[in-house]
């Protein structure tokens, strides 16, 4: 029982980061129906940027989020303006063209990091990297707790923007029905640019947070991208609350597997990959879809 509590808490801590990471993908997908493979590269680049700020100016990684996130917001809008906006929009969902284009961007970002920082593994060491706090019978690392707090902040912020601001309402409108939103006066192009900026900023925040937990190389990000994708599919591609639920589910499965089974750590990534394929195939509507199948009393939207 004790162990279960520790596993649950570890899952909660991990879920926060996973959620932040996944919202970056979800916002872009929701508004533009584009699967942003460059997300991995952006997380990686943000990790390096955080590292550079820490290395040169001894800036605490969590504080540097305040610089990195806005900077990447602008980078995201720039990417939209130069590349994404020219893609033809297909009504039947995400296009291969956009997928491959962003894949190309990811490769370029990898090379960028490689040219600037080389291929060696980097990591960030702070005074508190090794510290941990005892809580409810387990010891939890300080960085993990700080990451969790930072991600909660970002999610609360996102929620506020989505529900309380006109921009947020416009984003939700375009996500649900682009044409209707445009008829209501929403400039879908501008919203798309902003959404891409927000998605990139969230990728950056996740990257900064990841840099405090893991060592990284330019190749970093692929497994996290697949996890993020697994999460948004689990959560139902178009539901914002679903992403949070998906994050919790994946985090719990991973922590459970490492605590209770003898699956070696190196295979753990294979868990999320397999789960991704399984969910895509068996439950394409994600958990909300499964819920709907079980509960026939749910009235149609």
């Amino acid at each position: 029982m004790q162990k279960l509590v520790v596993v649950a808490l570890n899952s909660l801590l991990a879920a926060g980061l996973y959620a932040t990471m996944s919202y970056g993908l979800a916002v872009i997908y929701g508004v533009m129906r584009i699967i942003n493979l460059a997300h991995a590269g952006l997380m990686m680049l943000a990790a390096y940027a955080t590292f550079a700020l820490n290395d040169r100016f001894a800036l605490d990684p969590f504080l540097s989020i305040g610089i990195v996130a806005p900077a990447f917001f602008l980078i995201g809008m720039g990417l939209y303006a130069t590349l994404i906006r020219w893609l033809p929009r297909s009504s039947a969902g995400p296009s291969m063209q956009s997928l491959l284009l962003l894949f190309g961007v990811w490769l370029v970002l990898q090379n960028l990091a490689y040219s600037i920082w080389g291929g060696d593994t980097q990591s960030i060491l702070t005074p508190y990297t090794m510290e941990s706090i005892p809580l409810l019978g387990g010891r939890f690392g300080v960085p993990q707790i700080l990451v969790f707090l930072a991600s909660i902040l970002s999610l609360v912020g996102l929620n506020l923007v989505l529900r309380r601001t006109f921009l947020g309402k416009a984003i939700r409108a375009v996500t649900q029905n682009r044409d209707a939103a445009m008829l209501s006066g929403v400039n879908a192009g501008q919203i798309a640019a902003v959404a891409f900026g927000i998605g990139t900023a969230f990728a950056a925040m996740a990257g900064s947070m990841l840099s405090t937990l893991y060592a990284f190389t330019p190749d970093f990000g692929r497994s996290f991208l697949l996890k993020a994708f697994c999460i948004i599919v689990l959560g139902g591609m178009e539901s914002f609350t679903g992403v949070a639920v998906g994050a919790l589910v994946l985090a719990f499965i991973e922590n459970f597997a490492s605590a209770y089974t003898s699956i070696p750590v190196s295979y753990q990534d294979a868990i999320s990959f397999t789960l991704l394929v399984v969910v895509l195939v068996a439950a394409p509507g994600g958990l909300p879809g499964l819920w709907r199948t079980f509960d026939r009393r749910v009235v149609a939207r």
């Binding site: 709907r292 026939r296 749910v298 009235v299 149609a300 939207r301």
Partner: protein
Amino acid sequence: MPVESGPILVVSSVSKRFGGLLALDSVSFEVQPGEIFSVIGPNGAGKTTLFSCMVGAVTPSSGSVRFLGEELAGLRNDQIVVRGLVRTHQIVKPFRDMTVADNIRVGVLYGRLRLRGAKARERVDEVLSRTELGHRAGVRAGVLSIGELKRLEIARALATGPAVLCLDEVMGGLNPAEIQQAMALVRALRDGGLTILMIEHHVHAVAGLSDRLVVLNFGKKIAEGRPAEALRDPAVVAAYLGDETEVRV
């Protein structure tokens, strides 16, 4: 086409639920071989859903569809086409980057007939001439006019060599001359041995072509029978026009 005794198609208590929405509510009817049988009703009545259930594009929530005595529920779309039941789509979607001839060739190669080689080429030509698309055979399907696209849609379905052809609003968007052409084609197809099911809004076309029809409203069957009787049925009139109107048919 040998004369079958008994109905060629039996739809029994077919229902389809999408989440909380009951699109079809226990619809039943029979179609005799060689008939032109229409399915009519106001928008949203479930007509296209009915067709989708019949061809296996969508699985019915309950009920059965028997074609030539064989149960179709649970079979895939392509399996049902191979057995001889095919439909056209209300929103025509040809293979845009293929020629008209190739569009038709797909059905010839993979439909019920599964022809190859010279026989396949002959059949493509045959279908092209029956739908009057011969002069457009080498043209990319993406550039056709709407009238031609509708004919291509019929041609593609015809190419599979069906016993029963389900036409979903083939006359939508056509001008009066084109409607006459379409009606003549439908008659010719039936005279050639096909059984035809039609979803259609043009009451005149329906009345002029159909041997029998069924009327759907809100997923339920509200009338069935010969056009003259069914169209005079007060329930049908009410469904289309509201309660207090008299209609002369």
